[in-house]
């Protein structure tokens, strides 16, 4: 695709994400208990679990929005450590979509999409705008490019947020409950975009309770409770024959109504 210079420190043959024995405390509260997780390139992983189980905390450790206390996180072989350069390195390759969209309200949609590529990837404005328009078309809102986020609906804002993340041309996309803040009629338009991305081979880690989405695109579903990974299995197995009681209870609650 476009000629964005990679720093080439990333080893694209290594696993996309490799988390080993990860622990995280909030004060004395043990929020993540020896998490182990490997995501290979192109894989789609859906993370679910009850509220407070540590799903957000785990994926936010991957791009260091939260600092972990022990264990190792590697992204394409680059280990996250105290070396600030490694954090920058990884954030360039890992995009994130938030529950609350978090678009920059003082910038237009187009500016939201071009800011980071211009400042971080150091590409020209013309190239950044061309890339932005391509991704805005992909999420089906090129006509809103000159508007401000406050003028868009929730579903449109979340699609802009996805386009903004894509403009950095990341190798991995993290989603933290991307549809939880949306009105029901807007959920589908966002999920459609996510399905398209999945089919195109993007490496994705999604925290979501949209089980239909999990069935459709996930290679693996992960169930977390109380800071631990309780179960991990392909969707057919996960929904068909869940091994743990906690998983069964959770599934009956989520799918029950």
């Amino acid at each position: 695709m476009s000629a964005i210079a990679r720093t080439n420190v990333m080893d694209l043959t290594a696993p996309a994400i490799e988390i080993t024995d990860l622990n995280k405390y909030y004060g004395t509260f043990h929020a993540l208990r020896s998490i182990n997780l490997t995501v290979s390139k192109g894989e789609k992983v859906v993370v679910c679990g009850p509220s407070g189980s540590g799903k957000s905390t785990m994926i936010r450790c991957i791009n260091q929005l939260e600092e972990h206390d022990s264990g190792a996180i590697r992204v394409f072989g680059t280990q996250l450590d105290d070396n600030l350069g490694s954090i920058d390195e990884i954030r360039r390759e890992v995009g994130m979509v938030f529950q609350q969209f978090n678009l920059f309200p003082h910038m237009t949609v187009l500016e939201n999409c071009t800011l980071a590529p211009m400042l971080v990837r150091k590409i020209s404005r013309a190239e950044a705008e061309a890339t932005a328009m391509r991704y805005l078309e992909k999420v089906r809102i090129p006509d809103q490019a000159q508007k401000f986020p406050g003028q868009l609906s929730g579903g449109q804002q979340q699609r802009v947020a996805i386009a903004r993340a894509l403009c950095m041309q990341p190798e991995i996309l993290l989603f933290d409950e991307p549809t939880s803040a949306l009105d029901p009629e807007m959920i589908a338009e966002v999920l459609d975009v996510m399905v398209t991305l999945a089919q195109e081979g993007m490496t994705m880690v999604c925290v979501t309770h949209e089980m239909g989405f999990a069935r459709k695109v996930a290679d693996r579903v992960i169930f977390m409770d109380k800071g631990e990974i309780i179960e991990e299995a392909p969707p057919e197995e996960f929904f068909g024959q869940p091994k743990s009681d906690r998983t069964r209870l959770f599934l009956s609650q989520v799918l029950g109504h």
Binding site: D88, G95, F98, L103, P105, H106, A116, L119, V120
Partner: protein, 361 residues
């Protein structure tokens, strides 16, 4: 005809007028009473300030008293003292030009398209150099004029602008340090800000003007004017830093997280994402702070500078104009009003401009 083509337009307005101001006997009474007071004040001002006033440089106390109204002759005769203080008479064109320079710097700084580091720095440095050259002289064949002789409007404007230009970056720096990740830095900055804010401006000005020279090594003392300026800027910065901090607190946490997730550096996050939003939230308070700073320029008279208000005081101190102090104060008040009113209109313009596209939130 237009009234009938606008269905309800004018008659609705009339109806609202009648409801709001003549809705009850008490409302009628209040409306009439207020109208009478306003009319009386208006008539008095018109009568005193225009109809029975004396204009022109040839008016004297006798002619003014004979007319019974305002004696604007004092302005016509003494305006150069009011505007330029004790700056040498033959050189006052330099003062006037310096005022224009400051005015241009203010106008340019107010234009949103000038808001980049490079452009603002260029305008400010160039403006300062031209202003200083004009006022101080000593080069290009200009007679040197000591800072102690500067006075009136250029001095007031210079202090105001310099307070802003030095104080605002200082305020941003303090506000950023105060939210530092390192608790020690944040705490110490907090103490500094709170200490400055708990001192009266007067005491800071006195300290800078009189006490500081005893404490500093000789080469650091510098001209009194600049020490005082530094004190005023520091005072401004402490208050403005708190205003900016208030702005920071209004920004959702997700904004900075999104910027981090995109890989933006600390400086890019700060100057592209956080500060613009903080300033938008803090704008009304910021304009207010500038208005206060403009008013407070008159305090520097206590450390021996003849700014606008003090220069005005000397204008009627000579025997022949002693009776005409009200006119001088009205004249000075009009100048202050023009600036402050302009400032608040500019604030309203900025708010309207920033609200474009923020239908929600």
């Amino acid at each position: 005809m237009t009234a009938s083509s606008l269905p309800g337009g004018q008659s609705a307005r009339l109806r609202r007028l009648r409801r709001d101001y003549f809705g009850s006997p008490l409302a009628v009474l209040m409306t009439l009473l207020s109208a009478a007071v306003i009319a009386w004040i208006g008539w008095f001002l018109l009568d005193w300030g225009v109809i029975r006033a004396t204009f022109g440089a040839d008016g004297t106390q006798e002619t003014c008293v004979a007319h019974g109204g305002a004696c604007w002759s004092v302005i016509a005769v003494r305006w150069r003292v009011i505007l330029f203080g004790i700056y040498p008479y033959e050189e006052q064109w330099r003062s006037a030009l310096a005022c224009v320079v400051v005015g241009v710097v203010i106008l340019l700084s107010c234009l949103p398209r000038m808001w980049s580091f490079g452009r603002l720095a260029l305008v400010w440095v160039l403006g300062t150099v031209i202003f200083y050259t004009l006022m101080r002289g000593g080069v290009l064949g200009l007679v040197p004029v000591n800072e102690q002789q500067w006075g009136g409007l250029p001095l007031t404007l210079f202090i105001f602008v310099a307070t802003g230009i030095i104080g605002m970056p200082l305020a941003i720096g303090l506000a950023l340090l105060r939210r530092s990740e390192y608790p020690v830095i944040a705490r110490v900055t907090g103490w500094i800000i709170d200490t400055i804010r708990s001192l009266p401006l007067l005491s800071i000005l006195f300290t800078c003007a009189i006490v500081l020279p005893f404490m500093l090594p000789g080469f650091l003392i510098g001209e009194k004017l600049y020490r005082v300026l530094f004190g005023a800027a520091l005072f401004f910065a402490a208050y403005q830093a708190e205003i900016i901090r208030g702005g920071f607190q209004g920004i959702p946490k997700g904004q900075e997280e999104a910027a981090k997730a995109l890989g933006l550096t600390y400086w890019h996050r700060t100057f592209r994402i956080v500060l613009p939003q903080a300033f938008r939230l803090a704008l009304p308070a910021t304009i207010n702070q500038f208005v206060i700073a403009f008013m407070e320029t008159s305090l520097i008279v206590v450390v021996g500078f003849m700014e606008l208000l003090a220069a005005g005081n000397t204008a009627f101190k000579t025997g022949e104009w002693k009776f005409a102090y009200a006119e001088v104060y009205v004249f000075i008040a009009a100048i202050y009003f023009a600036f402050v009113f302009g400032l608040s209109r500019y604030g309203a313009y900025l708010e309207a401009r920033m609200n474009v596209g923020h239908r929600k939130d």
